[in-house]
């Protein structure tokens, strides 16, 4: 059930690494939200004619719905001026998220950029404890480590400049962990981040025969499955390829169904 809700801004603060957090009062969407889902946000200070912008749900606590964002373009730069009391129209919860159900695998989260937001929400909703890899350029960009630590996860951090955690790419840290990890349950990957990272994880999951769930990012029109703008190529169980909508069948897809190259 998708809802449309006039949400009041309760809090809006800088978060580190250029990210900001907005806390909305959105009781209906919040109570229905699951990890990996997103809200489609109308930014009131943007021109009346502007499209909504999709943002992952970072937290859903009672009436409160948290979103984490980075000012990168026209819409998010305007969002920077959101004030307590402003009213935003949200559509949500949207999309098909991560499963937080118990399984006999070891959850391994891999986050780049705003990807920590849905994954933090996932860790909080999972009963299992897992391993999380958070990568960024430098120390200040590493966010939300406490979210995972506080629920007992094993946190790995990698920065390109080595200013925090291991030096190098997040995939390097992951590869080292894979090479040296102790025996135990089979890893299952949950990831969200830039497309390059998602492709790299697809390869690793394939190589090791692990399940991997990847959240993808596409320009979106409607957010609810009507416009067919946000598609990703998938290969179904019957081997046939087709376009799936990131806003409806996704944004989280099983890595083994993803078809990355399509003419």
């Amino acid at each position: 059930m998708r809802l449309i809700e006039e949400a009041t801004v309760l809090e809006h603060v800088a978060f580190g690494g250029g990210y900001r957090r907005i806390v909305f009062r959105a009781p209906n969407i919040s109570r229905a939200a699951a990890p990996g889902q997103f809200v489609h946000v109308r930014i009131p200070q943007l021109s009346r004619e502007a499209l909504r912008r999709p943002f992952s749900i970072y937290r859903a606590d009672g009436d409160e719905l948290h979103v984490m964002y980075k000012p990168v373009g026209r819409g998010t730069h305007v969002m920077e001026h959101a004030h307590r009391g402003d009213v935003y129209s949200l559509i949500g919860p949207l999309g098909h998220g991560f499963s937080a159900e118990d399984r006999d695998t070891l959850p391994v989260c891999v986050a780049g950029g705003y990807g920590v937001a849905p994954l933090s929400f996932l860790a909080k909703r999972m009963r299992r404890k897992g391993v999380v890899f958070i990568g960024a350029r430098a120390a200040p960009d590493i966010l939300c480590t406490d979210d995972f630590a506080s629920v007992g996860w094993d946190v790995h951090v990698a920065t390109e400049d080595g200013s925090l955690g291991e030096r190098g790419l997040i995939t390097d840290a992951l590869d080292r962990w894979i090479a040296t990890r102790p025996a135990g349950p089979t890893p299952e990957i949950f990831a969200c981040g830039p497309e390059g990272l998602m492709r790299a994880l697809t390869l690793r999951a394939e190589k090791h025969g692990w399940q991997a769930w990847l959240s993808l990012d596409r320009p979106m029109g409607c957010g609810i499955g009507a416009c067919l703008s946000c598609v990703q190529r998938l290969r179904g169980p019957d081997g046939k390829e087709y376009w799936a909508r990131c806003c409806t069948e996704g944004p989280v897809f099983a890595a083994r169904e993803l078809v990355w190259e399509h003419a």
Partner: protein, 307 residues
């Protein structure tokens, strides 16, 4: 406050409870927006373009934002007529709203084939004939930009179906009046205007078009003044009714089209911004009619005074 104005209109023999439709390609096949809006309160719904066979559409990126507009090149992805009929028509039939099926073909014959198939599908009120989609490398657009071809395809489809026929014309022709007359003479029961306007946005960093298809179709508020002009010019040229669209987001916008001569309107892009747009348009038209002491929405249609 006077009594509620009469909002009903009859177009191409379809009686609609009000003159506000959802535009093809912006409301899926019906169920997509059903959680968010009451489809029964609409004048009608125009489903996304249907072909005889399933169609893949274009590679992403398929959409980008422009100043007060939206550029898309979906490329008419659709499940094909059989799957549409079995999967979506039962849902649509359960609703009390006019169902207009937007169809297209890669060849003249295919247009006819799709039209014929819908002739005996229960619950379909009319066919909208897309001869003006800018997002296909071949076909689509070409049928709508040459008067002779337009006449041929409309006449052919006319012979294959008893359903009311609503050709959707291209906005990129110079003499829209001529095309409107061609449609009328070829047996159209109404005309839809406008489809999206061919346009392009370039990513200057990569020196490539933002959309993989290169060219896309521009829609939304940016094109509204162009659409109003075309509807006005077409309405003066023909007797059959016109369904006007292009950038409608409020009652005032819709009234521009009605006053210019449209007998009904469709809301497209604005639904993405506010799913309730079409329903708000209905009530804002009612408020206007009351304020102006007009008993029926039909009293504003084509009332533009030009000096």
């Amino acid at each position: 406050m006077s009594k509620a104005p009469d909002m009903a209109v009859t177009i191409a023999g379809i009686r609609m409870k009000n003159p506000v439709l959802l535009a093809s390609g912006t409301c899926g096949y019906g169920p997509e927006y059903a959680d968010l809006i009451d489809l029964n309160a609409l004048g009608g719904i125009t489903v996304k373009g249907i072909l005889a066979v399933p169609w893949e559409g274009n590679t992403p990126i398929r959409l980008t934002e422009t100043p007060a507009g939206l550029l898309n090149a979906i490329g008419l992805q659709n499940p094909g007529m059989e799957k549409f009929i079995s999967e979506y028509m039962p849902f649509l039939r359960r609703h009390q709203t006019a169902v207009i099926v937007n169809i297209w073909g890669r060849t003249m014959e295919e247009y006819g084939e799709v039209a014929a198939r819908f002739d005996d599908v229960e619950g379909v009120h009319a066919l909208e004939l897309n001869i003006s989609c800018p997002n296909l490398k071949a076909g689509g657009m070409e049928f709508g930009t040459d008067p002779k071809t337009a006449a041929q395809v409309i006449s052919l489809v006319r012979k294959r179906t008893r359903l009311p026929l609503i050709p959707k014309l291209s906005p990129t022709v110079h003499a829209i009046a001529q095309f409107a007359r061609v449609a009328e003479e070829s047996g159209a029961d109404a005309i839809s205007l406008i489809n999206s306007v061919p346009a392009m946005v370039i990513d200057v960093e990569r020196r490539r078009p933002v959309l993989s298809n290169g060219v896309g179709g521009l829609t939304g508020a940016a094109i509204r003044p162009i659409a109003v002009r075309l509807v006005w010019q077409a309405a003066r040229a023909v007797k059959i009714p016109i369904i006007g669209m292009g950038g409608i987001s409020c009652g005032r916008d819709a009234l521009e089209f009605l006053i210019a001569g449209a007998s009904a309107v469709a809301v497209g892009t604005a639904t993405f911004l506010d799913p309730g747009t079409a329903l708000r348009v209905v009530s804002e038209i009612e408020t206007y009619l009351q304020k102006h002491n007009l008993a029926s929405v039909r009293d504003v249609i084509g009332t533009l005074e030009v000096s």
